[in-house]
Amino acid sequence: MIIKNLTVRFGGFTAVDDVTLEIPQGAIVGLVGESGSGKSTLAKAVTGLVRYSGEITGGDSRRIQMVFQNPYASLNPRMTVGTSVAEGLKLPRAARAAEVERLLSLVSLPAAMAERYPRELSGGMRQRVAIARALGARPELLVADEITSALDVSVQGAVLNLVRSLREELGLSMLFISHNLAVVRYVSDFVAVMHQGRLVEVGPTEEVVGAPRDDYTRSLLEAVPRLGRV
């Protein structure tokens, strides 16, 4: 899927400025940037939640799904996990339960979870449910917007592992947005760096992280806190 010349304006303010980005089939593209860089707006534009100019080619733009940052706000508190996951399914009623079970197993959740309500689940489990719900729509592209930022470190690892295994098992293409370079580096095949609405650097992960060409990328890399660096 290719995002071409995408621009989002709010009044006189240009939040995303002429961004062109390719997300190859079956690859995870990490998008990093600081708050206000326009990365979340780009995600909303790609998923059709805000108006934009430009185009998205190389796939069905309606088959793009998103997983949100806050797992405590992205599930309807009055719906069971099963009902939430079944929402995007275009299947006859009889086939739904089996599909929900399959989707839950994809995100390593037991089938019994379908009967539970979100309030009974931990943040990491909720995030899995949100991923399962998005997978139900058979997306051509999954946009993950800061999906581990609201999680504790001990749970974050499991969600990141899940993201990687989904890519390997389902060949899922993904736009993985995070402010955390270490997290992006770990899951992504390609990294795109966004600054003040523009893409300043795009390339294979090892290249961008190992030999950054842009000054801003360098300053971002320099600022990543590291254990044992005093």
Binding site: E34, S35, T47, G48, L49, R62, I64, Q65, M66, F68, N70, A73, S74, L75, N76, P77, R78, M79, S84, E87, G88, S122, G124, A130, R133, A134, G136, A137, D152, V153, S154, V155, Q156, G157, A158, L160, N161, R164, H179, N180, L181, A182, V183, R185, Y186, T205, V209, S219, L220, L221, E222, A223, V224, P225, R226, L227, G228, R229, V230
Partner: protein, 608 residues
């Protein structure tokens, strides 16, 4: 329900409403005949033993008529409210379902109707639809609808922005279904609460219409009608009019009280389940105070009612010039520890300490004003949200200067100069200009610098920084960490740095204290963190953190399960259920925090 009956207002409301319902049910069968019995020998009588509220112009007993009228009054009120609620909810929900232009039209109509006087709208509708109960019900119903529409619209708009609604839209769920499945169920509660109150108002409004002769027509009668008939006799026999008036007033008050109480009960979050009382923390013998330490905490416990103990017997020492990192996941009690040291634990939390010494003084033994003075001059606190420490209405320079005028008795000019000097010290460019600005004119990182500068107005002995960089970008975070390090080195203050981010702690601090479920599980020098950690939790935490050198071909470590909530912590090691090394002993017996090498302590039976 139990909460409803606990407050006097809720209790009174419930009793009144129940009474009205009972009267409405049993009224007509019991007093029906008497209310209709015409008795020419006793017409227009005042209160007497036979007729406590007197009789009307046909000699009918008014008390009986009041009791019988209850059913009609309540039924009409109910019907009116339903009409208002249904019309209002549909009108309010339409903008979320209709296309943009239609939505704007409906919103405009509702806005216009809300601005229109309700009684006028009611009387207009009543006159158009014809005098009588039908007209009154429709009229009042139409008059109530706009406020319901407005409430629905506002509530729906707030839910429409929720992530789960966005998710449903992305999944292609039709708008109508989004409305019925996602929006309405999540706003039903306040709407239903509003219904109860609307019922009270409808009852009063209907009585008003009947009283004006626009409502129920004879031979039917409701309370308003009875009031109308009795009103011109109020000077000869007041009881005739007072009876129905009291009935209307009681019903109106009852529904309003009940509505209020319901709203309050719903707004209150569910109270935590009652559990066993807080486990008694084993008091260890407390050694002599450490004369070097700036901060010395022994056996700090924070308890909330219902056996919730988020901090359990925590001990901590911070030396001058030292930065100690307190690290833990959300819910581990690290922020409450900071609050307890600063005396900021919110009610009804209860703090007990074996010892709490700041700058060589026992805080527990100081008088209240001395304690405040000590905390005010020697403790600087930096929070995650700098706006929590800054007054948005005041210039930042003035807020800083206040510290000097209040605690140090400086003159205003001197205090202002010092403020500008301190702003300069935390590397704020153009400090004199910035000092005249308001907090909202500064960026997040700049505000955090201002808060640190505020702490530097005095000579802080202890700096407590609670997640000061969590809301900031990495590049700004770096600058703030550098500033904290510089300030600690210059002032020789002790710094307690609280964070969930073990990488940040690892980069900034000299010593690391790891908390889990309210207890310290390990305390170690920072250079031991990566390779020398002994507690399985610390090790798992370090392993699960991806950094810039993590092997991308290997899956990340993660810890199964979750941290127990403060009310769930059992007798043994709280980490036992998630620990690979756990034995039977771990789940029954609490491991003490014991020395494990140089400057290293660990609380684990299986530490290797």
């Amino acid at each position: 329900m139990r909460q409803l009956l606990r407050t006097p207002a809720g209790l009174a409301g419930t009793i009144l409403v129940a009474l009205m319902v009972v009267v409405a049910i049993i009224g007509p069968p019991i007093w029906g005949v008497e209310a209709e019995r015409i008795n020419p020998s006793v017409i227009l009588q005042g209160a007497s033993d036979a007729h406590p509220l007197g009789t009307d112009n046909l000699g009918r007993d008014i008390l009986a008529r009041v009791m019988v009228a209850g059913r009609l009054s309540l039924l009409l009120a109910l019907l009116t409210t339903l009409i208002g609620a249904v019309v209002g909810t549909v009108l309010g929900a339409l903008p979320s379902v209709l296309p943009r232009r239609g939505a704007r039209l409906v919103t405009g109509t509702v806005n216009a109707l809300v601005a229109f006087p309700g009684l006028l709208l009611a009387m207009f509708t009543a006159v158009v639809t014809g005098l009588g109960a039908k007209g009154a019900v429709l009229g009042i119903g139409v008059a109530i609808a706009p406020s319901f529409a407005r409430l629905t619209q506002t509530l729906a708009a707030s839910v429409a922005g929720a992530d789960y609604v966005s998710a449903a839209r992305m999944l292609g769920v039709p708008r109508m279904r989004v409305m019925t499945r996602h929006v309405l169920p999540n706003i039903a509660e306040p709407l239903i609460l509003n219904l109860t109150q609307a019922l009270g108002s409808a009852l009063l409004a209907l009585a008003g219409m009947s009283f004006l002769g626009l409502g129920v027509q004879p031979p039917s009668f409701d309370w308003g009608r009875l009031l109308f008939e009795g009103f011109n006799r109020i000077y000869d026999s007041p009881a005739v009019a007072l009876g129905p008036a009291v009935a209307v007033a009681l019903a109106g008050i009852g529904f309003n009280l009940l509505g209020d109480a319901l709203a309050r009960a719903a707004a209150r979050t569910t109270t935590p389940a009652k559990t066993a009382p807080a486990p008694v923390v084993a008091r260890q013998e407390i050694e002599e105070p450490d004369p070097e330490a700036v901060l010395e905490v022994r056996d700090l416990t924070v308890t909330f009612p219902g056996g919730v103990t988020p901090v359990r017997g925590l001990s901590l020492t911070v030396a001058p010039g030292e930065i100690v990192g307190l690290v833990g996941e959300s819910g581990s009690g690290k922020s409450l520890t900071a609050s307890a040291i600063g005396g900021l634990v919110p009610y009804p939390g209860e703090v007990t300490t074996g010892r709490l010494r700041l700058c060589g003084a026992d805080l527990d033994e100081l008088a209240e004003h001395e304690r405040r003075k000590l905390l005010g001059t020697s403790l600087a606190m930096v929070f995650q949200d700098p706006m929590a420490s800054l007054n948005p209405a005041l210039r930042v320079g003035g807020q800083l200067a206040e510290v000097a005028t209040v605690h140090q008795g400086a003159s205003r000019e001197k205090a202002w100069d010092r403020a500008v000097d301190r702003l300069d010290h935390v590397h704020i460019p153009e400090p004199a200009r910035r000092a005249r600005q308001h907090p909202h004119e500064l960026s997040g990182g700049m505000r955090q610098r201002v808060v640190i500068a505020m702490g530097l107005m005095g000579t802080p002995r202890l700096i407590i920084a609670d997640e000061p960089t969590t809301a900031l970008d990495v590049t700004v975070q770096r600058q703030i960490l550098r500033l904290l390090r510089q300030v600690t080195a210059e002032t020789g203050a002790a710094t307690l740095f609280i964070s969930h981010d073990i990488a940040v702690v690892g980069e900034l601090c000299h010593r690391v204290v790891v908390m889990y479920a309210g207890r310290v599980v390990e305390e170690l020098p920072v250079d031991q963190l990566v390779a020398g950690a002994a507690h399985p939790y610390t090790r798992a935490l370090v392993a699960s953190l991806p950094d810039m050198d993590t092997d991308r071909s290997q899956p990340l470590a993660s810890i199964p399960g979750r941290q127990p909530a403060p009310a769930e912590v059992g007798a043994g090691c709280a980490f036992a259920s998630r620990c690979e090394l756990a034995t039977d002993r771990c789940s029954t017996e609490l491991p003490p925090l014991i020395p494990y090498g140089k400057a290293h302590q660990v609380a684990c039976w299986e530490a290797q």
